[in-house]
Structures are given as structure tokens and as C-alpha cells.
């Protein structure tokens, strides 16, 4: 097969890789992208998007089931709903298909050549791709490593049989009667909540002392409360030991040291993700590492000249929007622009019920950084829109420097707060002070008013509390 030579080669067409390729193509850089599966990566095919589809379906189902129980405060009653999970999954796959098709189209439009197959680095400038029609060699002036991440496997619970990863969980066509989730991080809780709403009996096993340990307890309290309302059993400080011999239960060492059996049709292991650094010839490149991940500088350059790395393979935070921003930046650098990573914050969202949003520093992190701070917190229980949506749980919290009121961080927990991440990120990137947020008219009635009120609160004159 004839060798391909190009200016830029992107290995991996996840959110980081495809954005990088599209941007490079827009800028007239001769670009090739290699992907073994469908473009879109974890995010589009087995992560963000499909999980949100399942979460939405579960939410809707739970809503109507709640109404069918004639418990609805809204005065709506109906007969017991039924779920056809296979149909739900087909609908979800449809969305995924449309999006991945969309990405292929965008790549084409940007004149990026896509090579399907598994890539392996021969050296820093050359890649061999196993395509359906044979080995394709690609030579490039510059390479971007965007191989992403994979689910972490527990040695005591290898994937297979009833033990599944998040990828498999999103493809289940039959609802597990009893589901045990190992790992109380955001992936486990998002999926665990969804399955509980669809009707599974869900238990969560978390090794740390509380769920979502990366957030402060105040922020996760409404989530923990809702889990218990949904009948999800949460075991904290507990260790998963392995499957029972019959494979129908998970053996757990509880916080008090007692052995416990949790009956399970499926065991979903979501104990984190790790950089995908195996199987594509990283060892040929001898790149500096940062733990498992590839070490990068503020331009996403690796220790090898002409080799960049972006996205999950470069470590935490493993978020699609970080990868996209990195991809865009690298494409522009390759096209000769002066760029470096100067982002002030990477917002993060946890699509639990209720949702959790963080941008910038939490109060604890700000204090640890030696800042004197002002904190303003406004509860949704005092917000009209939240009341009309039956979503009074949660709050918005603003953290600002005490001396000049520049906003350092914003957190929120509550129904639908994921959409507030836009405002939060913008405020921090723009260098907003408390007065800027307080002085911006926030349309009424919206949950966003809580943001303004939190800023006013930090300034000492909240109006609605």
C-alpha cells in the first residue's frame, strides 16, 4: 500500500483528536486522522452522550412512574408505565450514530483524511495502521497523540460475565434486576441512579468515606439524599472483594470489617479511567511520563520534538471539553500561531440527581492556596423557578478573593444546574468580580438568578434571603 505523507497526523478521533483535525484542516494544514472505531471517541460513543441519553430516559420514566403512584404534587395521574429498554438503547444508538456521522462529515468538510484502523507508532514520525485492506504507513511532520483513556479494571473483579464496565452498561438491552456499582464517583453514580430510576435495585460500594470524594461534603449532600430516596443502598468505606463462587453476588468488606454479600445480576465497575498508553507503540517513542499519563507542557508538547499529546492520555482532569480546547490549541500551534494554555478554569459537571457543577476553586482549595476569601451561597429553596420545577434541593456558591472580589470559583448543586456551567466558566475566564455578577441583570424567573444572589450574598446584601 502506498505510503501517506502529511503535515499533521492525529492518532485517535475522540473529542480532542477530531477537534484538532478539524481546526487544522480549517487552517489549511494537510491533516490525517486515524481511528480504529467510530469517530467521537469515548465521549460520543460510550461516554458523555450515550450516558446522558440513558439518564434522560430514566428521568422521564421515573417521573411518569412517580405520577402513576398518584404521588404527584402536580395533580397528574396515569397508569403504570412500561419500559422497553431495547428500544431505549436503540434510540440512544440513533443519537450516537447521528453524532458520529456528523463528526465524519465535519472532518470531510475540513479536508481531513480519515484512515480507519489500529495505529502503531514505528517511530516519532511514522505510524503503521492496520486497515481492512492491509498495513498503511503514514509519515508526518507533526503527530498528535490523542488515544484517550480506558476504564480501570479491578484485579479482584476482571471485566467479563456479570462484571461490566460503563461501556457495557450503556448497551444493556435487558434491565438487571439487581445491580451493584463498585465505585461511587461520578460515572458510577450517574449510571447507578439511571438504573435505579428504570427499576433496578441498585447498591453502590465506595472505598472512600463518602460518595463523590473529590467534592466537598456540602456539595454532595443533596446527591446522597436523593440516592437514599431512590432506594439506592450506599456502602461507604467498603471494599469489593470479588464475586461469589456462583457469580450471583458481590462479596464486600464493609467499613466495620464484616463480610457482606450483595446479590447482583450485574456488577458495574466504575473505579476510574486511566490513560490509554498501551498497544499503540508508545514504548517506541520513549516519552516522559507523569505517572501513567504522558507528560505535556503548556503547549501540549511531549518530551519529543514534533509530538504533541492531548486529552485523557495526558491525565486528569479527563474531560472532553478539556481535550477539545487542547486539540484546538495544538492545531493552531501547528499552523504557526502563537498559543499556549492560558485557561483559567475547566468546569466539571456531574450528571447525578441533582446535578453538580464546579468551576474554579472550591472554598477549601482557595484557602489552601493561601487566599483570603468571601463566600456567598444561595439556596434554590429561595428561588421561584426552582420551586415551580419541584427542584428546591441545592444551591449556588460563589468564592471570591476578599481583597479585590475577583471570582475564584463557582459551584452549584441542583436540578438542571449543568446549563449554568456556561455562565460560571464565562465569569471566571472574563475575570469577573462579585460586583460584575451582582450587577448583571439575570432574567426572572430562572435558576440562574441564584448565581446573582450568591454574588450579592458574598457582598453582604442578598435580596431574596
Amino acid at each position: 500500500m502506498k505510503e501517506i505523507s502529511c503535515k499533521l497526523l492525529v492518532v485517535g478521533a475522540g473529542p480532542g483528536g477530531y477537534v484538532c483535525a478539524i481546526r487544522a484542516g480549517q487552517l489549511g494544514v494537510d491533516t490525517v486522522i486515524v481511528e480504529a472505531k467510530k469517530p467521537g471517541g469515548t465521549c460520543l460513543t460510550v461516554g458523555c452522550i450515550p450516558s446522558k441519553a440513558l439518564i434522560h430516559a430514566a428521568e422521564e420514566f421515573e417521573k411518569v412512574a412517580h405520577m402513576a403512584n398518584s404521588k404527584s404534587l402536580l395533580g397528574i395521574s396515569l397508569s403504570t408505565p412500561k419500559l422497553d429498554l431495547a428500544k431505549t438503547v436503540a434510540w440512544k444508538d440513533g443519537i450516537v450514530g447521528r453524532l458520529t456521522g456528523g463528526v465524519s462529515g465535519l472532518l470531510k468538510k475540513a479536508k481531513v483524511k480519515t484512515v480507519h484502523g489500529w495505529a502503531r507508532f514505528r517511530d516519532g514520525k511514522t505510524v503503521e495502521v492496520e486497515t481492512e485492506t492491509g498495513i498503511q504507513v503514514i509519515r508526518a511532520e507533526t503527530v498528535v497523540i490523542a488515544t484517550g483513556s480506558v476504564s480501570v479494571e479491578l484485579p479482584s473483579l476482571p471485566f467479563g460475565g456479570p462484571v461490566i464496565s460503563s461501556t457495557k452498561a450503556l448497551a444493556l438491552t435487558k434491565l438487571p434486576e439487581k445491580l451493584v456499582v463498585v465505585g461511587g464517583g461520578y460515572i458510577g453514580l450517574e449510571l447507578g441512579t439511571a438504573f435505579a430510576k428504570l427499576g433496578s435495585k441498585v447498591s453502590v460500594v465506595e472505598a472512600e468515606a463518602r460518595i463523590l470524594p473529590q467534592y466537598d461534603a456540602e456539595l454532595t449532600r443533596p446527591v446522597a439524599k436523593r440516592l437514599s430516596e431512590l432506594g439506592i443502598e450506599v456502602l461507604t468505606g467498603a471494599k469489593a472483594k470479588g464475586l461469589s463462587t456462583k457469580g450471583d453476588a458481590l462479596l464486600v468488606e464493609a467499613a466495620d470489617g464484616a463480610e457482606k454479600r450483595l446479590a447482583a445480576d450485574k456488577v458495574l465497575v466504575t473505579v476510574g479511567r486511566k490513560a490509554a498508553t498501551e498497544g499503540w507503540g508508545l514504548e517506541e517513542l520513549v516519552l516522559d511520563r507523569n505517572g501513567r499519563s504522558i507528560r505535556i507542557d503548556d503547549q501540549c508538547r511531549t518530551s519529543m520534538r514534533g509530538a504533541y499529546a492531548i486529552g485523557d492520555v495526558t491525565g486528569e482532569p479527563m474531560l472532553a471539553h478539556r481535550a477539545m480546547a487542547q486539540g484546538e490549541m495544538v492545531a493552531e500551534i501547528v499552523a504557526g500561531h502563537k498559543r499556549n494554555w492560558d485557561k483559567r478554569c475547566i468546569p466539571a459537571i456531574c450528571f447525578t440527581d441533582p446535578e453538580v457543577v464546579t468551576a474554579g476553586l472550591s472554598p477549601d482549595e482557595a484557602r489552601k492556596a493561601g487566599r483570603e476569601i468571601k463566600v456567598g451561597q444561595f439556596p434554590f429553596s429561595a428561588n421561584g423557578r426552582a420551586m415551580t420545577k419541584l427542584g428546591e434541593e441545592g444551591f449556588v456558591r460563589v468564592v471570591a478573593r476578599a481583597d479585590n472580589h475577583v471570582v475564584l470559583g463557582i459551584q452549584a448543586v441542583g436540578h438542571g444546574v449543568s446549563e449554568l456551567s456556561t455562565a460560571f466558566g464565562l465569569a471566571i475566564e472574563m475575570g469577573a468580580r462579585l460586583e460584575d455578577i451582582a450587577g448583571t441583570i439575570h432574567a426572572h424567573p430562572t435558576q440562574g438568578e441564584g448565581f446573582q444572589e450568591a454574588a450579592l450574598k458574598a457582598l453582604g446584601h442578598a435580596l431574596h434571603i
Binding site: E429, M430, G431
Partner: protein
């Protein structure tokens, strides 16, 4: 709304005026009872002025560095209840902050609405100290002060929007070097334009750069006091400085032994208490050196009490804490008192009394003491003893060099009333006492 005026209180016995050294508030600030409003400085001590009431600052009566008479108005506050607010309002609208709000409030008032006191006021009053009012029109680059210098603390990320950051990157400008005129020092597009227009020598310095900046520092407070005192001492007093070296090997052995065997409640001894006791002994033979020279009256006041001033470096400058009646204190007591006063002086809690009334002074720079110094007499005293760095030096004992711990004393005297001979006798006496420290403790 009423008005409350705070006058400069009586800050110390016999003090008629004080220098304003710091404002803790500015116009528009809301203060609570007991919040610190300002700091003033008397001859020696700094006194903080607390607020007696809750209220909003409407007027500040002095600038930093001004001398304010006791009893003159210092601050005006708007307080709840009481008299008419018209005066305060007139002042508010005349002021820089909040002038945009004022017309709006007036309009509403004309329409017959009840206008609460504008709550926007505290919000618009910037919590950062802006150096000067920012004109509405963009400032021409040339009009900017060249002294802007480093616009923010080291390690601080420059505050700028993503669009400004992108433009700076493309223009090759390091935003850390760009002063920001926006709120909280935010760098605006105009700031960046101005910075680029100012030329390449500031845009990205490489290699050695000329620095034409001049930073003006107002000499106020303690620094001004020091300046005045030094000028007075050096212009009025013809100094004679006498340097002698002292073998402190025996003294150091004694000091080490005493420190080793000391009780827990006793201070760790430095060289100072020994020197103080030696000076007391020497002064007993030469009372003319423990004196205050009133040169206008032509009188030397010889003091019976040996009040030894100890020059101490503090964060804001040099202060002299005074160990009263060293003649009545033993070694340990001298040491304890020096420690206590040094702590108080460093913490800024030393009282005016503890910082005045010395009759002779010791100055010591410790490990920084150098080989010799020319100490400046603490006017109107007539003598000052300076301690230099102790170091091991080879000394010829007649047959060989032996290592000895040596330390110089650099002492200055007022040559109008102290002859060189007397000065030498005094220092030689101290030398004898320190070299054979047992003599310090032998009475009679």
C-alpha cells in the same frame, strides 16, 4: 441619617499633635463600631484610631504624612438616625465614586418615588485601592505614569479576558508586564494597545535593559522621624569615633557556661547584658558619659540612673527601646528586659515610655555587625557604643598564633563635651571588664 465627626483623640501624655501614617478606610466604606479607621504616630509610638460608631465614611480630614493637632476633625461618618442627610448627599454626588448613580436617584426622586439610600454605593466603591480616579476617555499612553512598574504581585496571573489574552499572545506581549486599568487591575484592550504603542523596549525585554523609572516614596511616619533625628544628630554633634578590639574568649566561655546552667525562667544571655553591666561599671568612674547635653542652655545633665537605649531594627525602621535603670538590674534582669523590649518593638506594641528616656545607647547589628561602624549618637546623649561582629582571629601571644574570639567595639562621642582621652579611657575600661569578665561582678 446623621453625621458624626471623629476628632483626633488625646493619644498620649503631653502630645499635642500626631502624624497620620495610615488610613484603614476610604470614603464610601461602611465601618462598624471598633473598626480601625486610621493609624497616627506620635514621637515614638503608633496609635490606632477606632471608630466609636457604625456608619459610612463620607470625609477624610488629612492625607498620609500630614500632622494633625489633637482635637481637630479627622473623619466624618454618615450614621443612622438623627439629622438631615442633605449635606452628606451633596458630598457624595460631588465625589468620584457613584456619580453615575446620583442622577438616576435624583430622577426617581422627582417622579415621586421613595428612594431608599442607594444600595449600589458600597458595591461601586471599589475594594481595591485605585491610585487615581480613572477618566472616562481612554488615557493616552504618554499620559500614563512611567512608574507603574510591576503591575501585580509575583506569581499572580494577570487578569484579562480570553480575547485580550489571545491578542497579547499574538503580539508577543507578556501580559504579566502590562499594567491593568480595569477593576481589580483587569487588563483591557486599551491597556494592551497602550503597552504595545509604548514600544518594543517594554514589550518583551531581553538581555540587559535600561531602567529609567523613578519611584517616588513619601517619607512618612517612623522613617521621617528617623530622618529628622539623624539629621539633627549629625548636624549638631561633632562625632569622634573610637574603635577598639576586644578579646571575648573568656566572656564567651562564661556566657556559654551561664546559658548551660540557667534556670528555665532565665533568659538566654547574649553579649548585650554583659556589655550593659560593663558600661554601668565604667560609667560609675566616668559619669560625664551618661548624660544629656542641652546645648542651647549650655548644660550637661549627668544622670545617676543608667538608662541604656538599645537600637533595634523593626519592619518599619530603626527604633530605640530603653532599658531603664540598668545600674539596678543584674545580668539576668538586663537580658530579660532587652528581650522583652525587643519583642515589643518588633511587634509594634512598645509604649511611648519604653521608647524614650535613654541616657546612653548601644547599637548592635549582631552577625551583620561588620568590622567597624561609625555609630550616630542618639541626640541629645553624648555617647553610643556600637557592637561589631565577633569572629575567631589568629592572635600572636608572643610565641605563636592562637585562635581567639575577637570582637570590635565602635563607639562615638560628642566631642564638644567628651575629649578623645576620656573616650579612650571609657572604652579601655569596658575592654578590661569584658576581657576579664569576673571584674564585672566584683563590687567596690
Amino acid at each position: 441619617m446623621g453625621e458624626h465627626t471623629i476628632k483626633l483623640p488625646d493619644v498620649g501624655e503631653g502630645v499635642a499633635e500626631a502624624e497620620l501614617v495610615e488610613w484603614h478606610v476610604k470614603v464610601g466604606d461602611l465601618v462598624r463600631e471598633d473598626s480601625i479607621l486610621a493609624a497616627v504616630m506620635t514621637d515614638k509610638a503608633t496609635v490606632e484610631i477606632p471608630s466609636p460608631v457604625d456608619g459610612e465614611i463620607t470625609w477624610l480630614g488629612a492625607e498620609i504624612g500630614d500632622t494633625v493637632a489633637v482635637g481637630s476633625p479627622l473623619i466624618r461618618l454618615k450614621v443612622e438616625g438623627g439629622a438631615e442627610a442633605s449635606e452628606a448627599k451633596a458630598q457624595t454626588s460631588a465625589m468620584d465614586d457613584g456619580q453615575e448613580e446620583a442622577p438616576l436617584a435624583d430622577n426617581l426622586a422627582e417622579e415621586g418615588e421613595t428612594v431608599p439610600p442607594p444600595p449600589a454605593k458600597p458595591a461601586t466603591a471599589a475594594p481595591v485601592k485605585t491610585a487615581a480616579a480613572k477618566p472616562a476617555a481612554p488615557v493616552r499612553p504618554a499620559a500614563r505614569p512611567a512608574t507603574a512598574g510591576a503591575p501585580r504581585a509575583e506569581g499572580e496571573k494577570p487578569l484579562a479576558t480570553p480575547a485580550v489574552r489571545l491578542r497579547a499572545k499574538e503580539a508577543g506581549v507578556d501580559l504579566r508586564q502590562v499594567p491593568g486599568s480595569g477593576p481589580a487591575g483587569r487588563i483591557t484592550h486599551e491597556d494592551l494597545d497602550a503597552f504595545i504603542a509604548r514600544g518594543p523596549q517594554t514589550a518583551r525585554p531581553t538581555g540587559l535593559q535600561r531602567n529609567d523609572t523613578v519611584e517616588d516614596i513619601k517619607i512618612v511616619g517612623l522613617r521621617r522621624k528617623i530622618a529628622e533625628k539623624m539629621a539633627l544628630a549629625k548636624s549638631r554633634i561633632p562625632h569622634i569615633t573610637y574603635v577598639e578590639e576586644i578579646d571575648v574568649t573568656a566572656l564567651e566561655d562564661l556566657r556559654a557556661a551561664l546559658n548551660k546552667g540557667k534556670r528555665a525562667d532565665q533568659p538566654k544571655l547574649t553579649v548585650l547584658p554583659f556589655l550593659m553591666r560593663a558600661m554601668v561599671k565604667a560609667i560609675a568612674e566616668q559619669p560625664g558619659l551618661n548624660a544629656i547635653f542641652d546645648d542651647e542652655a549650655g548644660i550637661v545633665h549627668r544622670h545617676g540612673g543608667v538608662h541604656i537605649g538599645i537600637a533595634a531594627q523593626t519592619a518599619s525602621g530603626l527604633v530605640v527601646a530603653v532599658v531603664k535603670h540598668a545600674e539596678a538590674r543584674d545580668l539576668w534582669d538586663c537580658g530579660a528586659e532587652v528581650n522583652r523590649l525587643a519583642e515589643a518593638a518588633k511587634a509594634g506594641t512598645a509604649t511611648r515610655e519604653e521608647l524614650s528616656g535613654s541616657t546612653i545607647t548601644i547599637t548592635s547589628l549582631g552577625a551583620m555587625g561588620g568590622v567597624a561602624t561609625t555609630p550616630v549618637i542618639n541626640h541629645p546623649e553624648v555617647a553610643i557604643v556600637g557592637v561589631n561582629k565577633m569572629m575567631v582571629r589568629p592572635i600572636w601571644d608572643g610565641t605563636q598564633f592562637i585562635p581567639r574570639k575577637m570582637m570590635n567595639l565602635s563607639s562615638s562621642f560628642d566631642h564638644r563635651v567628651v575629649d578623645g582621652w576620656d573616650a579612650a579611657v571609657f572604652v579601655q575600661r569596658i575592654k578590661t571588664l569584658l576581657e576579664t569578665p569576673a571584674l564585672i561582678f566584683i563590687e567596690g
